[in-house]
Each structure stands twice: as structure tokens, then as C-alpha cells.
């Protein structure tokens, strides 16, 4: 076993240190080392987006990034969305609009949608579909997900 690396980073606003092997992806570091199992493993090729997290505010497939590359970065995972028991408006609207069935893709969709709304609080439907193009859902389909993001945007803007 190779020597483990110490990684100092910030996860969901908390300064965090963890040890990982260089060959462990950020996804494996989050799930297996830190116990943050919200981010899901899907394809491991960057196609499905189930492992999407935010790195310095940008959506990234955590399966295609090494844990050691998280040094000095600000990582946001689905665990960082809710504030205590208060769900994030995106999570709330995904529930209300029935935007999930099996749920494996949901954390990734939530993080891609958050990245979009953080930069563009009032997106068009086309912009939402474009921003979510790197996330695949194989059971619910996309209309309800897109609707939930539109509704969450309204809530977040106080409309």
C-alpha cells in the first residue's frame, strides 16, 4: 500500500483534513474516508453525473478528480445543501414535484442545479436543461426535475 497523503480542504464550509491514497478519487475519499455517502457512484466515466459535487463553486464529476486534488479547494456536497432540518429549496421542490424515483441520480442533479442557480438565479427552461445535460436519470425522466428547478428558483427569489 502506498503512503497515504494528507489533504487539507474545506468541505461544506468546514475546514477538513483527511488521509487518502493518491489513487483514490474525490468520490471515494468522500464516501469511503469521510463517510459522506450522498454523492453516488454511477458510470465512473463522467457521463452520468451522479457523483457531481461543487469544487470552488463549479460542478465537477468527483469520480474524475483525485482526492489529493481537493487540497486547498472548497468542496460542496449534497450533505451541505440543507441547513439543519431546513431543506434547501431545491430539495424541497424535488420532493413536492415528485422529481425522483430511485433517487440515485438526485444528489448529482441537486448539485448541478445549485451550481446553475448560484450563477444564474432566474434561468430559462433551456438554460436549466443545458446545465443539467451532464446528469442522467433513467426512471423519472427530466420534465419533473426541470420543473422543480424552475420552482426552486422562484422560491429563492421570493416570487
Amino acid at each position: 500500500m502506498s503512503k497515504k497523503q494528507l489533504v487539507e480542504t474545506t468541505i461544506n464550509g468546514e475546514p477538513t483534513e483527511f488521509l487518502c491514497e493518491t489513487r483514490q478519487s474525490l468520490l471515494e475519499s468522500l464516501r469511503d474516508v469521510l463517510g459522506l455517502t450522498g454523492s453516488k457512484e454511477g458510470c465512473l466515466t463522467g457521463d452520468c453525473g451522479a457523483c457531481t459535487v461543487l469544487v470552488d463553486g463549479r460542478p465537477v464529476c468527483s469520480c474524475l478528480m483525485l482526492g489529493v486534488e481537493a487540497r486547498g479547494k472548497k468542496i460542496t456536497t449534497v450533505e451541505g445543501l440543507a441547513e439543519g432540518t431546513q431543506l434547501h429549496p431545491l430539495q424541497q421542490k424535488f420532493l413536492e414535484d415528485a422529481s425522483l424515483q430511485c433517487g440515485i441520480c438526485t444528489p448529482g442533479f441537486l448539485m448541478s442545479a445549485k451550481a446553475l442557480l448560484d450563477r444564474n438565479p432566474n434561468p430559462t427552461e433551456a438554460e436549466i436543461r443545458y446545465a443539467l445535460a451532464g446528469n442522467l436519470c433513467r426512471c423519472t425522466g427530466y420534465d419533473k426535475i426541470v420543473r422543480a428547478v424552475m420552482n426552486a428558483a422562484k422560491v429563492m427569489q421570493g416570487r
Binding site: 500500500m1 493518491t22 478519487s25 463522467g46 457521463d47 469544487v55 464529476c61 474524475l64 448541478s112 445535460a133
Partner: protein
């Protein structure tokens, strides 16, 4: 995935020393969107990964009206798309960078990585060929500049020697009334590998073509120029008819293969269609410059 060492140097010199230290088994990691998949599939087994994203000159976008563009090889595609300089002076290259994968991929993947992965179907390569881009390479023996048309040596291979890395992409400043355009054909609406990619850069003098370059992807063992088609256009008015003829000449430069995305015959046909459209699109933009 196999075991390997990881280093993140902050200068080009350190990166070159690291790369030269481990023979053929050190590899640069930038976005990792191709490399980590290749490593997971045991296609590549580097003993050392050299992460170059912390090297300032590899992350800069700087434009000077006389010197042209210096584009850091590690700039992620999304930053290229967000750059006003890139949209203004190299809209075709910018649209190529914004076509690669999803936003998740564009947040990591770079043009330098796309170049060095050297896929025949890389989206930014035809666009780089069209604008006359040059790879600035630094290695143990010093710095050299290689035009992109001389960079590739085959599918997945290039001229980089042991210890060398592409630090920046250099692009000449566009002459007045110059613009570029990149178009690709894929089996789906978004996020797939090109059946054909066509980049065109056109300089107009009045209503005549003063200079033109056409780059093609996914239709030969490497991305290629279509010089005959470009030469034909010089001194001519760029319209439906001449663009069509240039498309026919571009077909002659292509040597495509059959694969799951399309047959050689289909690819050759599409080369003509996309070359024509890319030329007309570039000319339309050039008229407004």
C-alpha cells in the same frame, strides 16, 4: 486503479524536472477527464502524475493586439467560454471548447489536455488548426514551438518527448475582418464524440477571401488541415457556390474509417457539408469584424 505518486509543482521548471525524472512513466494530469478513465481501464499506468493546474502561466489567458493570444494549456474549458477576449477574437475555438462534454467536464477539461490526449476526434483540434495555433513546449532541452498541424503523429500520439509538456497555446492576432467557426456532427444533440468536426478561419478583403484555413477532425488518423480547399478560396468571393466547391476539395483531404458512429462514406459526405457551413459561418462573422 494502480498505485502512483502525485506531485503538484508550481513552476514549469519543477514540472519538467519531475516529468524527466521518471522516464516514460510520468504523465501530466490536467483536468484528468481522459487520463483517469484511461488509468482506471489500465490503458495507461503512469508511476508519477504531475498536476500542472497550480502553475500560473498555464492558467492565464492574455491577449495582445500585436503578439496575439497566450492561452495557458491548463485553463479549463469553462473559463475559456467565460472569457470575453476569447469570444471576441476566437469565437470558433471558444465554441469548440464549450462543446466538450457536460459542464462538469468543461469545469475540468482543458484545451492543452485535449491537444495532448491527441484523439483524432478532439473537438478543439480542428479549431486550433484553423486559427494557426502553436504549441509552446518546454522540456529538459529548453523551449520549442510546434504548429498544431505538426504536433500529432497518430491516434493518441504526438511529438512530445520525455520530460516535455505543453505550457501554452499561442495564437496569432486575427487580421482585420478575420473570424473562425467550429461545427461538429455527432449522433446525438449534445455530449458525444464527433463523426466529423470542421473548423474554419477566414480573412476577408472587401468581399474576397484574403486568407483561409480549414481544420478537420475525426476523418483521418490525426486532426488535419484541408489545404487545397483553403487555397482554392483565395481571391474568390465566399458564397454558397464557392463554399460548396471548397467542401468538395476538403473531402479529398479526408481519409475516414468506418466505425460505430458512421461509415467512411458518410463521414466523407459530412466533411463537405460541415466545411461549407463552417466557412460561411466564419465569413459571416468576419464581415462584422
Amino acid at each position: 486503479m494502480h498505485e502512483f505518486s502525485y506531485e503538484a509543482p508550481t513552476t514549469v521548471d519543477q514540472a519538467v524536472k519531475l516529468l524527466a525524472s521518471d522516464g516514460d512513466s510520468a504523465r501530466v494530469i490536467c483536468g484528468g477527464t481522459d487520463l483517469l478513465i484511461q488509468m482506471r481501464n489500465a490503458v495507461r499506468k503512469p508511476r508519477l502524475l504531475v498536476d500542472v493546474k497550480g502553475i500560473p502561466e498555464m492558467r492565464e489567458i492574455s491577449f495582445d493586439a500585436k503578439a496575439g493570444l497566450k492561452l495557458g494549456a491548463a485553463v479549463p474549458c469553462i473559463e475559456i467560454h467565460e472569457s470575453q477576449v476569447m469570444h471576441r477574437y476566437y469565437p470558433g475555438l471558444t465554441e469548440a471548447a464549450h462543446l466538450i462534454g457536460s459542464l462538469q467536464i468543461q469545469s475540468r477539461a482543458s484545451i492543452g489536455g485535449n491537444l495532448c490526449n491527441s484523439s483524432p476526434a478532439a473537438d478543439t483540434s480542428p479549431a486550433l488548426l484553423a486559427v494557426g495555433a502553436i504549441a509552446k513546449i518546454v522540456g529538459p532541452a529548453g523551449t520549442r514551438e510546434v504548429p498544431v498541424e505538426k504536433f500529432f503523429t497518430g491516434p493518441g500520439t504526438n511529438v512530445l518527448q520525455k520530460g516535455e509538456l505543453v505550457v501554452q497555446i499561442l495564437i496569432p492576432p486575427p487580421a482585420p475582418h478575420t473570424a473562425d467557426r467550429y461545427i461538429r456532427m455527432i449522433p446525438r444533440n449534445e455530449m458525444d464524440i464527433a463523426i466529423v468536426g470542421a473548423g474554419a478561419c477566414v480573412t476577408l478583403d472587401g468581399d474576397k477571401v484574403a486568407a483561409a484555413r480549414i481544420g478537420l477532425g475525426a476523418v483521418a488518423p490525426t486532426p488535419i488541415l484541408a489545404p487545397k480547399a483553403a487555397e482554392y478560396l483565395i481571391g474568390k468571393k465566399l458564397d454558397e457556390k464557392t463554399a460548396e466547391r471548397a467542401g468538395e476539395l476538403a473531402r479529398e483531404s479526408a481519409s475516414p474509417i468506418d466505425d460505430m458512429r458512421g461509415t467512411a462514406e458518410y463521414r466523407r459526405h459530412v466533411v463537405g457539408v460541415l466545411t461549407k457551413r463552417a466557412l460561411l459561418g466564419a465569413a459571416e462573422r468576419a464581415r462584422q469584424n
